[in-house]
Symmetry: C2
Subunit: 251 residues, 2 copies
């Protein structure tokens, strides 16, 4: 019978010597024989077993599970495979989400750079406010929509800008007084309509975009804080009201 040393097995199979030692230690792949010197010698059977190990490893099984698969005849491989498939699909779905997020972020980053040159537009506003507005505009919107809103903003004078900002604050204050009412009440929705109309001086907002903006009110701590400053819970209240408005009065 042939004897394969660790490095030979390593070369044949593509794993490292260290890996073979590791597999030996955890009992996943024991050499066929050990010399007095301690040297490991493998045979054909071990090569075949290693082939199986690597196959299941490819599929994402842990070494512990592989040990079970190979050493327990009662192991339900079919079930394990279905389970593993499910896991892989979940991971893939998650990766898809992340890719969407990262793409959005990349776009935002690029826009942020160009915005720096337009700094003058925001002069007179606090650092917080500026970054907040930048976020509001950039973060959640499609490229085209943003491009359009950009045009609008550039055409606005500073006083125009101030006007819009004040109006939004007024709406917020009034909403704070209506927090005991349901979000779909006429009064609340009327205020949201003001909010929406005012916001459109900046950029067009369809239902989805508007709801995205709403979500940001609670997902971005700085916005949340800004609104909850008027009254705790206001941010969430406005969000819900905006969602209702978007669902029923926009489309």
């Amino acid at each position: 019978m042939e004897k394969y040393t660790v490095s030979l097995v390593a070369r044949i199979s593509g794993v490292t010597v260290r890996t073979l030692q590791h597999y030996d230690k955890i009992g996943l792949l024991k050499p066929a024989e050990r010399a007095r010197s301690g040297y490991r010698y493998y045979g054909k059977d071990e090569l075949y077993r290693l082939q199986q190990i690597l196959f299941f490893k490819e599929l994402g099984f842990s070494l512990k599970k592989i040990l079970h698969i190979l050493d327990e005849p009662d192991f339900d491989l079919g079930k394990a495979l279905e389970f593993q498939k499910n896991e892989l699909q979940k991971r893939k779905a998650r990766l898809d989400e992340l890719l969407v997020t990262i793409d959005k972020t990349i776009k935002q980053i690029k826009k942020e750079k160009t915005m720096v040159t337009d700094k003058e537009l925001y002069e007179g506003f606090s650092e917080e406010e500026i970054s907040a507005w930048k976020k509001e505009i950039d973060e959640k919107y499609d490229q085209e929509v943003v491009a359009e809103s950009y045009q609008n903003i550039k055409k606005m004078s500073k006083s125009d800008f101030n006007e819009v900002k004040e109006e939004q604050e007024n709406v917020a204050k009034e909403l704070a007084l209506l927090m005991d009412q349901p979000v779909d009440s006429d009064k609340v929705q009327a205020l949201i309509r003001r909010h929406h109309t005012n916001n459109e001086r900046f950029y067009k907002t369809n239902a989805a975009v508007y709801k995205g903006l709403a979500d940001m009110y609670v997902s971005d701590l700085r916005f949340t804080e800004f609104y909850d400053n008027y009254k705790p819970g206001l941010a969430k209240f406005i969000r819900d009201a905006m969602h209702h408005f978007a669902d029923n009065s926009l489309k």
Copy 2:
């Protein structure tokens, strides 16, 4: 200024206390203040920073990289994001491959009853191994299909069995002499036809099953060895020839 204790921050952000302690230790998120008692107290700024940390973590960045992103103003975030995106895409592509593989494997498992007879054909497998497999098949797979193939085998006498085995070996030997010819040559395909006909004494094989069997000749080390014993490379040669046969003469 508000002070947030560890558990408070934990509840707000959704991470565990241990995580906050960990982030403190590695310098990723230091509390705003430390009491004489050692208690950690966080402020708004830290909450916002934590929010950012969690965002980048979502994207799959390591904590070390996040530290760079947040603390080095010169850090090229755009580049890092592109890189990360690339990584995610690679992972996704890999997952796609694995999903294909695992699907194949699941299918193959169900067909494994076919292979068992083949294994019996080419001895060299331990008794326990075989009986374990039989048990597995009996317990888990389609009753009818299994029944059929078993019927065939059970009806065969030992000498019949040996006949089939010898014939397969003869075919293999003859094929070994034709390895310099293309797999689609008439001579080779004629031998494959013999192989296929002979094999059908065991069980019915449509194109897909036959190709599955072919693949096993190279994917299972024990089969590979058996055939390459006649001549190195024979296993692959037979596989290709069987594929050609299945594609052109079966369906």
